[in-house]
């Protein structure tokens, strides 16, 4: 809408009175859409409507909707004993219309198009709140359903308060020590992906905030195993950061892109992006970033079995961290170095590094790092055939992952935990752990975890992931 146009302005001011009019005067079933991008603004609007309407409004949120049931079934059952005539505000339909999951999207579209008539059995007004992008998608793809509406109301976030609403809508995303991507369940990630997509429409393109949202979206997709979508987001955020000449975040985007290539096994590209990132970091003298990039480069050489190179990069990183007094970085480097020594068969050196890493992690209170090192301790003893000690360390690591809500970490640790029990012939305990790992992996969409679990099931002579599913 053009803000300069007096008619457009008048129309915008009449949106709320029109919506209230419809709620009061529209008898029986009526379908309405409300377009609103920021959940925080939506909440405020709904409060205002409730106050002015002064009659009950039923609110139903589809977030986390179980695929096995029709939306209309749930809605009708739920509304059956509610006050007659009270309108329904429906939220969260966008979570069932993910922009990049075409299958899911198609199923929702097919369902609401076919079952359109069932909604009329509600016998009350149905007001569906959607962010702009999802409403447009619905209008274009579920046109049979969309075409039933009697009005669309648009509530763009007021220009002056935009940043407040965007920030408020982000509350809950930034909470906690672990990045949202590592801590949330798949359903939560899905919800946040829709929220962030909506906020994108409220944020000026080519701004820091816009690129930041893209980066967060990338991390959410990344953690859900949606690599190509994550890559797309990271690439777009890279473009914006580059345009804004924000070199620090540009190097972060390059680094994040490299992690996708690494996960896909494309080590050449991963290295290419890491090296570009490194050039920038050195250029701007951002040394903490430099040490992280060096660590990531080292990791790729280690995966490829080039231990010499891997070690030399880590030693460079360690020098930087030491010079900067970055103890957390040192701890992380020492933990990684231990893995190289282990692979090379230098057990004493490996153990020494692990012990130093653990001391530092505990000293600086880096609990995620501590958990990772404890897991590596466990691996170390497991390799030496000392199952008891291995189990002891792993249990400590497990506790931390649970405490921190580090679900991705928890999944990996549980897989190891099962493996130890399995080697001790304690197969039922092993399956128990793997089953929990499977539950987490499916919940958060942990691609690597699922791959490992698929193999484990096949090693057991079963048909792969379907086996775990049948045991759920």
């Amino acid at each position: 809408m053009n803000t300069d146009d007096p008619e457009a302005l008048a129309d915008r001011q009449s949106e709320l009175p029109r919506l209230l009019w419809v709620l009061r005067k529209g008898k029986g079933f009526g379908l309405y859409f409300v377009c609103c991008n920021a959940p925080a603004y939506r909440r405020e609007l709904v409060e205002k409507i409730k106050a002015e309407y002064a009659l009950p409004i039923l609110e139903f949120d589809l977030t986390g909707h179980d695929d096995e049931e029709y939306i209309d079934h749930r809605l009708l059952t739920w509304a059956a004993d509610k006050p007659a005539g009270a309108p329904v505000f429906l939220y969260g339909l966008e979570t069932l219309l993910p922009t990049r999951d075409e299958d899911r999207q198609f199923r929702t579209i097919q369902e609401i198009n076919w079952r359109r008539n069932v909604y009329s059995q509600l016998g009350r007004n149905l007001v569906i709140w959607l962010p702009e992008y999802a409403l447009t998608l619905l209008a274009r793809k579920a046109s049979d359903f969309y075409d039933w509406h009697s009005a669309v109301f648009e509530f763009p976030v007021p220009e002056a308060e935009k940043s407040r609403f965007v920030k408020q809508s982000m509350l809950g995303f930034m909470d906690g020590e672990t990045h949202a991507a590592n801590r949330m369940t798949l359903a939560e990630k899905r919800r946040w992906i829709s929220v962030l997509n909506g906020l994108l429409d409220e944020t000026p393109k080519d701004s820091e905030e816009y690129a930041g949202l893209l980066n967060d979206l990338g991390r959410l997709h990344h953690a859900s195993g949606k690599y190509s979508e994550a890559l797309r987001m990271y690439q777009k955020s890279l473009e914006v950061f580059h345009k804004l000449n924000n070199q620090e975040d540009e190097s972060m985007a390059l680094n994040n892109i490299s992690q996708i290539y690494q996960a896909q096994g494309d080590y050449d590209n991963a290295l290419k992006y890491l090296e570009s990132s490194l050039v920038i970091l050195r250029d701007i003298g951002f040394r903490d970033g430099e040490s992280i990039a060096l660590g990531n480069i080292s990791h790729i050489y280690r995966i490829q079995g080039d231990y010499e190179k891997a070690l030399s990069y880590l030693e460079d990183a360690l020098v930087i961290n030491h010079a900067m007094g970055n103890r957390e970085g040192e701890g992380t480097n020492l933990n990684s170095i231990s893995q190289i020594y282990s692979a090379q068969g230098y057990r004493d050196k490996a153990l020494n590094c692990l012990e130093n890493a653990l001391t530092i992690h505990r000293e600086v209170g880096n609990r995620i790092g501590e958990g990772a090192t404890l897991n590596n301790f466990s691996n170390f003893y497991y390799d030496q055939g000392n199952d008891d000690k291995a189990l002891d360390y792993l249990e400590q690591s497990l506790r931390i992952a649970r405490d921190m809500g580090d679900r991705a970490g928890l999944c990996a640790i549980l897989i190891n935990y099962g493996a130890i029990h399995d080697s001790q012939g304690n197969i039922s305990e092993a399956k128990h752990a793997w089953l929990e790992a499977y539950r987490i992996a499916t919940e958060i969409g942990h691609a690597e975890g699922l791959k490992a679990l698929d193999k484990l099931a096949k090693d057991l002579g079963k048909e792969g992931l379907a086996y775990w599913e049948s045991k759920m």
Binding site: E7, W21, K27, G28, R107, R116, S120, W148, V152, E154
Partner: protein, 441 residues
């Protein structure tokens, strides 16, 4: 749906009543509804009701008339079907109306679901009319279907829900239940449904034969009751969401072109609604016959006759003089509807919103702006070349399927078939600039 305690008498005369009188989503089911206006004359002259009814009456057993119908959403198609149903019933036919959206519990539909759904609807309607089918035959068809589904069930290693029911004597409700079992288990992606389909597909000719014995029996019994024959109307099938298959064809073509043979295989007169983009599918004519698709065009409201008819549509529902400040305001709304009944109803409703006394010019203009904004959401910049083309040629082909589906472009028929932009699309300022670039001085 809330039952009205006091039946409303049309035309209504207050704004609050207008809102409900112009509900865009309720087709007129009662043929005697005073709101019904026959638009045949302004739709190019060919009546859906008459032409299909004649075709059915002319087609004698063992031949059956098979008809595809399509049209823009909101063109009054369902209302026309109710008229057709009433006319055929008056002429002695037993008509089964099947709303696939309501009846079939389906996500991703296949022809098998439709065939079984039709059989189920026939059995259900006969039961409702108190006409008994041959019990032995029912038992046999039921047992056959149950056997097929039980085998699948065992293969799927799950509990034998069907087998638990098998001990019961066959009767119609039970058969309907078993048929539901075969089409059910929906929620697309359901593995079990895929399995049932593949079992039935392997024995397709047997399935059709069984269903046809059932239908033949139903027809015999109907004739004994004095009916001429059986007609099935399968409505809402056009709502099937479009999807491109892995092999490059679409799910629409797969159903209506590749499986046309199966859809035509049932022993009864049958009418299917199909998505509008299929009118561009050359192969459709090969299987269903060249004039097998009946297209319900939009009404050309630029012409005097069309405009008058649309005025009548509004006047049957609302007392124009009492509700609008000036009756010419209705003409504004009619012009902006582009000949779509649904958009006309929607516009009247939009004009009511936030008005309690009488609809004024400002309300009408606001309603029109709201409609324009809604269409603005549907059009993308990439659509400009196609919009330019249709603007100049007034003609559409297969590449316009999406835009026709969105009703950004309307098809009309008076004399010849032609197409144009929806007036609300034409009124979007950036589209207008693209179509009519300022002249270079």
């Amino acid at each position: 749906m809330n039952k009205e305690t006091n039946p409303v008498t049309y035309p209504v005369s207050s704004v609050a009543e207008v809102y409900d009188a112009c509900h865009p989503d309720i087709p007129l089911e009662d043929v005697n509804d005073t709101r019904y206006v026959d638009l045949t004359a302004v739709r190019g002259g060919e009546s859906l009701v008459k032409s299909i009814a004649y075709a059915i009456e002319r087609t004698r057993s063992p031949n059956f008339h098979q008809q595809l119908v399509t049209g823009h959403r909101g063109s009054g198609k369902s209302t026309e079907f109710f008229q057709l149903k009433a006319r055929l019933e008056n002429h002695g036919y037993f008509v089964v109306y099947l709303d696939v959206g309501e009846t079939l519990d389906l996500g991703d539909i296949s022809y098998l679901d439709i065939l079984i759904g039709i059989a189920k609807a026939i059995v259900g309607e006969l039961e409702a009319a108190g006409i008994d089918l041959n019990e032995n035959l029912l038992t046999e068809v039921l047992a056959w279907l149950a056997e097929k589904t039980i085998i699948t069930e065992r293969n799927a290693e799950s509990e034998g829900k069907v087998s638990a029911n098998l001990g019961l004597a066959a009767n119609i409700p039970f058969l309907a239940k078993a048929l539901a079992e075969a089409t059910g288990h929906i929620k697309s992606g359901s593995k079990r449904r895929e399995e049932i389909r593949s079992v039935l597909e392997r024995e397709l000719s047997l399935l059709i034969e069984r269903l046809n014995t059932l239908i033949d029996d139903a027809r015999t019994r109907l004739r004994l009751q004095g009916f001429k024959d059986l007609v099935v109307i399968v409505d809402q099938l056009e709502k099937m969401a479009y999807r491109t298959n892995k092999d490059g064809t679409s799910n629409h073509k797969e159903l209506f072109v590749h499986h046309a043979g199966q859809l035509k295989s049932l022993h009864c007169h049958i009418i299917y609604t199909v998505p509008i983009n299929l009118i561009f599918s050359a192969n459709l004519g090969d299987t269903f016959g060249s004039d097998a698709i009946f297209v319900i065009p939009m009404v050309d409201v630029n012409k005097g006759a069309g405009k008058e008819k649309f005025r009548e549509v509004v006047a049957r529902r609302v007392d124009i003089e009492k509700v609008f400040v000036e009756s010419c305001l209705v003409d504004r709304l009619i012009a902006m509807s582009g000949g779509s009944l649904r958009d006309l109803m929607r516009l009247v409703r939009l004009a009511c919103q936030n008005t309690d006394e009488i609809i004024e010019s400002a309300d009408v203009e606001r309603a029109i702006r709201a409609l324009i904004r809604e269409y603005d959401r549907l059009v993308k910049e990439q659509d400009i070349p196609l919009l330019t083309r249709v603007n100049e040629s007034k003609h559409v082909d297969g590449s316009f399927a999406d835009l026709l589906g969105l009703r950004v472009i309307h098809e009309y028929q008076n004399g010849a078939r032609w197409a144009d932009l929806h007036p609300a699309v034409r009124a979007i300022s950036w589209i207008d600039r693209a179509l009519n670039p300022p002249a270079i001085l």
